[in-house]
Assembly symmetry: C2
Homo-oligomer: 213 residues x 2
Protein backbone atom coordinates (compact mmCIF):
# COMPACT_ATOMS: atom_id res chain seq x y z
CA UNK A 1 0.00 0.00 0.00
CA UNK A 2 1.48 3.29 -1.12
CA UNK A 3 1.75 6.00 1.48
CA UNK A 4 0.72 9.52 0.79
CA UNK A 5 4.05 10.88 1.92
CA UNK A 6 6.08 8.69 -0.43
CA UNK A 7 7.90 11.03 -2.76
CA UNK A 8 6.22 11.08 -6.16
CA UNK A 9 8.36 9.77 -9.00
CA UNK A 10 9.73 12.77 -10.84
CA UNK A 11 9.08 11.43 -14.30
CA UNK A 12 9.53 14.73 -16.03
CA UNK A 13 12.76 15.56 -14.27
CA UNK A 14 15.62 16.06 -16.68
CA UNK A 15 18.25 15.39 -14.03
CA UNK A 16 17.14 12.41 -11.98
CA UNK A 17 19.39 12.23 -8.93
CA UNK A 18 20.05 9.08 -6.92
CA UNK A 19 18.16 10.55 -3.96
CA UNK A 20 14.54 10.07 -5.08
CA UNK A 21 15.20 6.44 -6.02
CA UNK A 22 16.83 5.72 -2.66
CA UNK A 23 13.95 7.44 -0.87
CA UNK A 24 11.44 5.40 -2.85
CA UNK A 25 13.25 2.17 -2.12
CA UNK A 26 13.40 3.02 1.57
CA UNK A 27 9.68 3.76 1.50
CA UNK A 28 8.99 0.48 -0.29
CA UNK A 29 10.89 -1.40 2.43
CA UNK A 30 8.88 0.40 5.12
CA UNK A 31 5.58 -0.34 3.38
CA UNK A 32 6.54 -4.02 3.04
CA UNK A 33 7.63 -4.18 6.67
CA UNK A 34 4.33 -2.62 7.81
CA UNK A 35 2.50 -5.25 5.76
CA UNK A 36 4.43 -8.17 7.25
CA UNK A 37 4.47 -6.78 10.78
CA UNK A 38 0.70 -6.32 10.81
CA UNK A 39 0.19 -9.92 9.70
CA UNK A 40 3.02 -11.87 11.35
CA UNK A 41 3.68 -9.84 14.48
CA UNK A 42 7.03 -8.75 15.83
CA UNK A 43 8.42 -12.20 16.57
CA UNK A 44 7.23 -13.57 13.22
CA UNK A 45 8.53 -10.79 10.99
CA UNK A 46 11.42 -11.97 8.81
CA UNK A 47 13.56 -9.69 6.67
CA UNK A 48 13.50 -12.28 3.88
CA UNK A 49 9.73 -11.87 3.59
CA UNK A 50 9.98 -8.07 3.76
CA UNK A 51 12.61 -8.15 1.01
CA UNK A 52 10.47 -10.39 -1.17
CA UNK A 53 7.48 -8.05 -0.94
CA UNK A 54 9.67 -5.00 -1.52
CA UNK A 55 11.23 -6.84 -4.48
CA UNK A 56 14.77 -6.61 -3.20
CA UNK A 57 17.50 -8.97 -2.15
CA UNK A 58 17.37 -9.28 1.65
CA UNK A 59 20.91 -7.94 2.24
CA UNK A 60 19.94 -4.73 0.41
CA UNK A 61 17.69 -3.85 3.37
CA UNK A 62 20.80 -3.34 5.49
CA UNK A 63 21.82 -0.46 3.24
CA UNK A 64 18.77 1.40 4.59
CA UNK A 65 18.30 -0.07 8.07
CA UNK A 66 21.18 -1.32 10.24
CA UNK A 67 19.07 -4.10 11.80
CA UNK A 68 15.66 -5.73 11.84
CA UNK A 69 14.83 -3.85 15.03
CA UNK A 70 15.73 -0.52 13.41
CA UNK A 71 13.30 -1.28 10.60
CA UNK A 72 10.54 -2.32 13.01
CA UNK A 73 11.22 0.76 15.11
CA UNK A 74 10.81 2.99 12.08
CA UNK A 75 7.50 1.34 11.09
CA UNK A 76 6.05 1.65 14.60
CA UNK A 77 7.06 5.32 14.65
CA UNK A 78 6.33 6.30 11.04
CA UNK A 79 2.58 5.65 11.03
CA UNK A 80 1.85 7.84 14.02
CA UNK A 81 4.45 10.47 13.08
CA UNK A 82 2.88 10.77 9.66
CA UNK A 83 -0.59 11.01 11.20
CA UNK A 84 0.64 13.75 13.50
CA UNK A 85 1.96 15.83 10.62
CA UNK A 86 -1.13 15.24 8.51
CA UNK A 87 -3.79 16.07 11.11
CA UNK A 88 -1.68 18.94 12.46
CA UNK A 89 -1.43 20.52 9.02
CA UNK A 90 -5.17 20.15 8.41
CA UNK A 91 -5.98 21.81 11.74
CA UNK A 92 -3.48 24.61 11.13
CA UNK A 93 -5.27 25.55 7.94
CA UNK A 94 -8.63 26.06 9.69
CA UNK A 95 -9.96 29.56 10.34
CA UNK A 96 -9.03 30.53 13.92
CA UNK A 97 -12.64 31.35 14.78
CA UNK A 98 -13.97 27.89 13.91
CA UNK A 99 -15.96 26.36 16.78
CA UNK A 100 -14.06 23.73 18.80
CA UNK A 101 -16.58 20.96 18.09
CA UNK A 102 -16.34 21.63 14.36
CA UNK A 103 -12.55 21.37 14.65
CA UNK A 104 -13.02 17.95 16.26
CA UNK A 105 -15.14 16.86 13.29
CA UNK A 106 -12.45 18.03 10.86
CA UNK A 107 -9.88 16.04 12.86
CA UNK A 108 -12.15 12.97 12.74
CA UNK A 109 -12.21 13.14 8.96
CA UNK A 110 -8.47 13.83 8.60
CA UNK A 111 -7.61 10.95 10.97
CA UNK A 112 -9.87 8.41 9.28
CA UNK A 113 -8.93 9.17 5.71
CA UNK A 114 -5.23 9.10 6.51
CA UNK A 115 -5.49 6.01 8.71
CA UNK A 116 -7.28 3.99 6.05
CA UNK A 117 -4.78 5.12 3.44
CA UNK A 118 -1.82 3.89 5.53
CA UNK A 119 -3.77 1.06 7.10
CA UNK A 120 -0.84 -1.39 7.20
CA UNK A 121 0.99 1.01 9.51
CA UNK A 122 -2.11 1.45 11.66
CA UNK A 123 -2.74 -2.27 12.03
CA UNK A 124 0.99 -2.95 12.55
CA UNK A 125 0.90 -0.44 15.37
CA UNK A 126 -2.38 -1.76 16.85
CA UNK A 127 -1.38 -5.40 16.73
CA UNK A 128 2.18 -4.96 17.92
CA UNK A 129 1.42 -2.62 20.80
CA UNK A 130 2.96 -4.30 23.80
CA UNK A 131 4.66 -6.99 21.70
CA UNK A 132 7.78 -5.16 20.60
CA UNK A 133 10.49 -4.46 23.18
CA UNK A 134 10.10 -1.19 25.05
CA UNK A 135 13.22 0.39 23.54
CA UNK A 136 11.70 -0.02 20.08
CA UNK A 137 8.65 1.96 21.15
CA UNK A 138 10.42 5.00 22.62
CA UNK A 139 9.97 7.27 19.61
CA UNK A 140 6.51 5.84 18.90
CA UNK A 141 5.31 6.50 22.43
CA UNK A 142 6.68 10.06 22.33
CA UNK A 143 4.87 10.64 19.04
CA UNK A 144 1.66 9.10 20.41
CA UNK A 145 1.88 11.43 23.40
CA UNK A 146 2.19 14.41 21.03
CA UNK A 147 -0.77 13.18 19.00
CA UNK A 148 -2.79 12.55 22.15
CA UNK A 149 -1.98 16.07 23.33
CA UNK A 150 -3.36 17.50 20.08
CA UNK A 151 -6.66 15.67 20.63
CA UNK A 152 -6.72 16.56 24.31
CA UNK A 153 -6.43 20.25 23.35
CA UNK A 154 -9.33 19.84 20.92
CA UNK A 155 -11.54 18.29 23.59
CA UNK A 156 -10.50 20.77 26.27
CA UNK A 157 -11.34 23.68 23.98
CA UNK A 158 -14.77 22.16 23.31
CA UNK A 159 -15.36 21.60 27.03
CA UNK A 160 -14.30 25.17 27.88
CA UNK A 161 -16.62 26.53 25.21
CA UNK A 162 -19.48 24.58 26.80
CA UNK A 163 -19.90 22.51 23.66
CA UNK A 164 -19.53 19.10 25.34
CA UNK A 165 -22.39 17.38 27.11
CA UNK A 166 -21.84 17.96 30.82
CA UNK A 167 -22.36 14.27 31.62
CA UNK A 168 -19.30 13.26 29.58
CA UNK A 169 -15.88 12.67 31.07
CA UNK A 170 -13.72 14.48 28.46
CA UNK A 171 -10.71 12.15 28.80
CA UNK A 172 -12.78 9.00 28.46
CA UNK A 173 -14.89 10.49 25.67
CA UNK A 174 -11.70 11.28 23.74
CA UNK A 175 -10.35 7.74 24.17
CA UNK A 176 -13.66 6.21 23.06
CA UNK A 177 -13.75 8.40 19.96
CA UNK A 178 -10.14 7.59 19.05
CA UNK A 179 -10.91 3.90 19.61
CA UNK A 180 -13.82 4.02 17.18
CA UNK A 181 -11.54 5.69 14.61
CA UNK A 182 -8.50 3.45 15.11
CA UNK A 183 -10.51 0.27 15.00
CA UNK A 184 -11.76 1.13 11.51
CA UNK A 185 -8.40 -0.04 10.11
CA UNK A 186 -9.31 -3.51 11.42
CA UNK A 187 -12.70 -3.81 9.71
CA UNK A 188 -13.07 -1.31 6.91
CA UNK A 189 -12.97 -2.48 3.31
CA UNK A 190 -14.83 -0.75 0.46
CA UNK A 191 -17.35 -3.63 0.64
CA UNK A 192 -18.51 -2.28 4.03
CA UNK A 193 -19.46 1.07 2.51
CA UNK A 194 -17.67 3.97 0.84
CA UNK A 195 -15.04 5.88 2.75
CA UNK A 196 -17.26 8.97 2.46
CA UNK A 197 -20.06 7.07 4.23
CA UNK A 198 -17.66 5.92 6.95
CA UNK A 199 -16.48 9.49 7.53
CA UNK A 200 -20.02 10.93 7.49
CA UNK A 201 -21.31 8.28 9.91
CA UNK A 202 -18.37 8.78 12.27
CA UNK A 203 -18.86 12.53 12.21
CA UNK A 204 -22.60 12.20 12.91
CA UNK A 205 -21.98 9.93 15.90
CA UNK A 206 -19.20 12.12 17.26
CA UNK A 207 -21.09 15.38 16.74
CA UNK A 208 -24.31 14.20 18.34
CA UNK A 209 -22.58 12.00 20.89
CA UNK A 210 -20.50 14.89 22.21
CA UNK A 211 -22.56 17.98 21.56
CA UNK A 212 -24.32 19.79 24.36
CA UNK A 213 -26.17 21.87 21.78
CA UNK B 1 -6.45 -12.08 35.66
CA UNK B 2 -9.18 -14.40 36.83
CA UNK B 3 -12.06 -14.95 34.49
CA UNK B 4 -15.62 -14.71 35.62
CA UNK B 5 -16.45 -18.15 34.33
CA UNK B 6 -13.65 -19.85 36.23
CA UNK B 7 -15.30 -22.33 38.58
CA UNK B 8 -15.23 -21.04 42.13
CA UNK B 9 -13.14 -23.09 44.55
CA UNK B 10 -15.54 -25.19 46.60
CA UNK B 11 -13.82 -24.60 49.91
CA UNK B 12 -16.67 -25.89 52.03
CA UNK B 13 -17.08 -29.07 50.04
CA UNK B 14 -16.58 -32.14 52.17
CA UNK B 15 -15.82 -34.32 49.18
CA UNK B 16 -13.52 -32.35 46.89
CA UNK B 17 -13.37 -34.23 43.59
CA UNK B 18 -10.50 -34.03 41.11
CA UNK B 19 -12.74 -32.23 38.59
CA UNK B 20 -12.84 -28.70 40.03
CA UNK B 21 -9.08 -28.69 40.53
CA UNK B 22 -8.47 -29.83 36.96
CA UNK B 23 -10.87 -27.21 35.67
CA UNK B 24 -9.15 -24.55 37.72
CA UNK B 25 -5.73 -25.57 36.47
CA UNK B 26 -6.98 -25.55 32.89
CA UNK B 27 -8.40 -22.06 33.44
CA UNK B 28 -5.11 -20.90 34.97
CA UNK B 29 -3.25 -22.12 31.87
CA UNK B 30 -5.70 -20.27 29.61
CA UNK B 31 -5.40 -17.08 31.66
CA UNK B 32 -1.59 -17.31 31.53
CA UNK B 33 -1.66 -18.00 27.79
CA UNK B 34 -3.94 -14.99 27.19
CA UNK B 35 -1.49 -12.86 29.17
CA UNK B 36 1.56 -14.03 27.20
CA UNK B 37 -0.21 -14.02 23.83
CA UNK B 38 -1.37 -10.43 24.27
CA UNK B 39 2.17 -9.30 25.08
CA UNK B 40 4.41 -11.51 22.93
CA UNK B 41 2.21 -12.31 19.96
CA UNK B 42 1.62 -15.64 18.34
CA UNK B 43 5.17 -16.23 17.11
CA UNK B 44 6.66 -15.12 20.43
CA UNK B 45 4.44 -17.15 22.76
CA UNK B 46 6.40 -19.92 24.47
CA UNK B 47 4.84 -22.66 26.56
CA UNK B 48 7.69 -22.35 29.07
CA UNK B 49 6.60 -18.79 29.84
CA UNK B 50 2.92 -19.78 30.00
CA UNK B 51 3.82 -22.56 32.42
CA UNK B 52 5.87 -20.24 34.60
CA UNK B 53 2.99 -17.77 34.95
CA UNK B 54 0.51 -20.59 35.55
CA UNK B 55 2.93 -22.01 38.16
CA UNK B 56 3.22 -25.38 36.49
CA UNK B 57 5.93 -27.48 34.89
CA UNK B 58 5.76 -26.92 31.13
CA UNK B 59 5.04 -30.58 30.27
CA UNK B 60 1.93 -30.46 32.49
CA UNK B 61 0.30 -28.17 29.94
CA UNK B 62 0.15 -31.10 27.52
CA UNK B 63 -2.19 -32.87 29.91
CA UNK B 64 -4.75 -30.16 29.11
CA UNK B 65 -3.82 -29.08 25.59
CA UNK B 66 -2.32 -31.45 22.99
CA UNK B 67 -0.19 -28.70 21.41
CA UNK B 68 0.77 -25.04 21.61
CA UNK B 69 -1.61 -24.30 18.73
CA UNK B 70 -4.48 -26.01 20.55
CA UNK B 71 -3.88 -23.74 23.53
CA UNK B 72 -3.66 -20.61 21.35
CA UNK B 73 -6.79 -21.69 19.50
CA UNK B 74 -8.69 -22.02 22.77
CA UNK B 75 -7.59 -18.56 23.96
CA UNK B 76 -8.56 -16.89 20.69
CA UNK B 77 -11.96 -18.57 20.88
CA UNK B 78 -12.65 -18.40 24.62
CA UNK B 79 -12.73 -14.61 24.99
CA UNK B 80 -15.34 -14.05 22.33
CA UNK B 81 -17.32 -17.19 23.22
CA UNK B 82 -17.50 -16.05 26.82
CA UNK B 83 -18.56 -12.57 25.71
CA UNK B 84 -21.27 -14.09 23.54
CA UNK B 85 -22.73 -16.08 26.43
CA UNK B 86 -22.48 -13.14 28.82
CA UNK B 87 -24.10 -10.46 26.63
CA UNK B 88 -26.66 -12.96 25.33
CA UNK B 89 -27.75 -13.84 28.86
CA UNK B 90 -28.03 -10.18 29.86
CA UNK B 91 -30.18 -9.40 26.81
CA UNK B 92 -32.36 -12.46 27.38
CA UNK B 93 -33.26 -11.19 30.84
CA UNK B 94 -34.59 -7.84 29.55
CA UNK B 95 -38.33 -7.19 29.40
CA UNK B 96 -39.52 -7.95 25.86
CA UNK B 97 -41.10 -4.51 25.48
CA UNK B 98 -37.85 -2.61 26.16
CA UNK B 99 -37.07 -0.10 23.42
CA UNK B 100 -34.38 -1.23 20.96
CA UNK B 101 -32.06 1.71 21.68
CA UNK B 102 -32.22 0.98 25.40
CA UNK B 103 -31.31 -2.63 24.65
CA UNK B 104 -28.24 -1.36 22.79
CA UNK B 105 -27.23 0.66 25.87
CA UNK B 106 -27.58 -2.42 28.07
CA UNK B 107 -25.41 -4.35 25.61
CA UNK B 108 -22.81 -1.54 25.69
CA UNK B 109 -22.55 -1.88 29.45
CA UNK B 110 -22.48 -5.69 29.45
CA UNK B 111 -19.80 -5.73 26.74
CA UNK B 112 -17.53 -3.17 28.42
CA UNK B 113 -17.68 -4.59 31.91
CA UNK B 114 -17.02 -8.10 30.69
CA UNK B 115 -14.31 -7.03 28.25
CA UNK B 116 -12.36 -5.15 30.89
CA UNK B 117 -12.70 -8.08 33.29
CA UNK B 118 -11.19 -10.49 30.76
CA UNK B 119 -8.96 -7.87 29.16
CA UNK B 120 -6.04 -10.23 28.50
CA UNK B 121 -8.31 -12.29 26.24
CA UNK B 122 -9.58 -9.16 24.50
CA UNK B 123 -6.10 -7.77 23.86
CA UNK B 124 -4.80 -11.22 22.85
CA UNK B 125 -7.59 -11.37 20.30
CA UNK B 126 -7.10 -7.78 19.09
CA UNK B 127 -3.34 -8.03 18.75
CA UNK B 128 -3.24 -11.47 17.20
CA UNK B 129 -6.00 -10.94 14.66
CA UNK B 130 -4.41 -11.80 11.35
CA UNK B 131 -1.24 -13.14 13.00
CA UNK B 132 -2.31 -16.65 13.89
CA UNK B 133 -2.77 -19.21 11.10
CA UNK B 134 -6.26 -19.29 9.60
CA UNK B 135 -7.05 -22.78 10.91
CA UNK B 136 -6.53 -21.54 14.46
CA UNK B 137 -9.16 -18.85 13.92
CA UNK B 138 -11.97 -21.06 12.57
CA UNK B 139 -13.91 -21.34 15.82
CA UNK B 140 -13.09 -17.74 16.79
CA UNK B 141 -14.37 -16.38 13.48
CA UNK B 142 -17.58 -18.42 13.78
CA UNK B 143 -18.09 -17.08 17.28
CA UNK B 144 -17.35 -13.51 16.14
CA UNK B 145 -19.93 -13.91 13.39
CA UNK B 146 -22.51 -15.02 15.99
CA UNK B 147 -21.63 -12.09 18.22
CA UNK B 148 -21.76 -9.70 15.28
CA UNK B 149 -25.19 -11.06 14.34
CA UNK B 150 -26.46 -10.30 17.85
CA UNK B 151 -25.34 -6.66 17.53
CA UNK B 152 -26.66 -6.45 13.97
CA UNK B 153 -30.08 -7.55 15.23
CA UNK B 154 -29.96 -4.87 17.94
CA UNK B 155 -29.16 -2.15 15.41
CA UNK B 156 -31.70 -3.40 12.88
CA UNK B 157 -34.43 -3.37 15.51
CA UNK B 158 -33.52 0.19 16.43
CA UNK B 159 -33.51 1.24 12.77
CA UNK B 160 -36.89 -0.41 12.15
CA UNK B 161 -38.34 1.32 15.20
CA UNK B 162 -37.17 4.65 13.75
CA UNK B 163 -34.85 5.18 16.72
CA UNK B 164 -31.65 5.65 14.68
CA UNK B 165 -30.71 8.95 13.10
CA UNK B 166 -31.61 8.64 9.42
CA UNK B 167 -28.19 9.96 8.32
CA UNK B 168 -26.40 6.98 9.89
CA UNK B 169 -25.34 3.91 7.96
CA UNK B 170 -26.41 1.21 10.47
CA UNK B 171 -23.61 -1.25 9.56
CA UNK B 172 -20.88 1.36 9.84
CA UNK B 173 -22.41 2.85 12.99
CA UNK B 174 -22.35 -0.60 14.60
CA UNK B 175 -18.70 -1.17 13.68
CA UNK B 176 -17.70 2.26 15.01
CA UNK B 177 -19.50 1.61 18.30
CA UNK B 178 -17.93 -1.84 18.70
CA UNK B 179 -14.53 -0.31 17.88
CA UNK B 180 -14.91 2.28 20.64
CA UNK B 181 -15.81 -0.51 23.07
CA UNK B 182 -13.11 -2.98 22.01
CA UNK B 183 -10.37 -0.40 22.06
CA UNK B 184 -11.04 0.30 25.73
CA UNK B 185 -9.11 -2.87 26.61
CA UNK B 186 -6.05 -1.17 25.11
CA UNK B 187 -6.19 2.02 27.16
CA UNK B 188 -8.36 1.63 30.21
CA UNK B 189 -6.81 1.43 33.64
CA UNK B 190 -8.49 2.64 36.83
CA UNK B 191 -6.17 5.69 36.65
CA UNK B 192 -8.09 6.87 33.58
CA UNK B 193 -11.37 6.98 35.50
CA UNK B 194 -13.66 4.50 37.23
CA UNK B 195 -15.27 1.73 35.23
CA UNK B 196 -18.67 3.26 36.07
CA UNK B 197 -17.55 6.54 34.45
CA UNK B 198 -16.28 4.68 31.39
CA UNK B 199 -19.62 2.88 31.02
CA UNK B 200 -21.69 6.04 31.59
CA UNK B 201 -19.62 8.06 29.10
CA UNK B 202 -19.82 5.31 26.47
CA UNK B 203 -23.59 5.05 26.96
CA UNK B 204 -24.04 8.82 26.66
CA UNK B 205 -22.06 8.95 23.41
CA UNK B 206 -23.84 5.92 21.94
CA UNK B 207 -27.31 7.09 22.99
CA UNK B 208 -26.94 10.62 21.68
CA UNK B 209 -24.77 9.61 18.74
CA UNK B 210 -27.34 7.12 17.47
CA UNK B 211 -30.68 8.45 18.67
CA UNK B 212 -33.09 10.08 16.27
CA UNK B 213 -35.19 11.21 19.22
Amino acid sequence: MARKTAPAPSEDSTEPSAEPKAARTRQRILDAAAHVLSRKGYAGTRLSEVAEIAELQAPAIYYYFPSRDDLVEEVMWAGIADMNVHVGEVLDRLPPDMRPLDRILVAVEAHMRHELEISDYTTASIRNAGQVPEKIRTRQLAEEAKYGAMWRALFEAAAEAGELRPELDPVIARMLVLGALNWAAEWWTPARGSLDTVVATAQAIVRNGLSAG
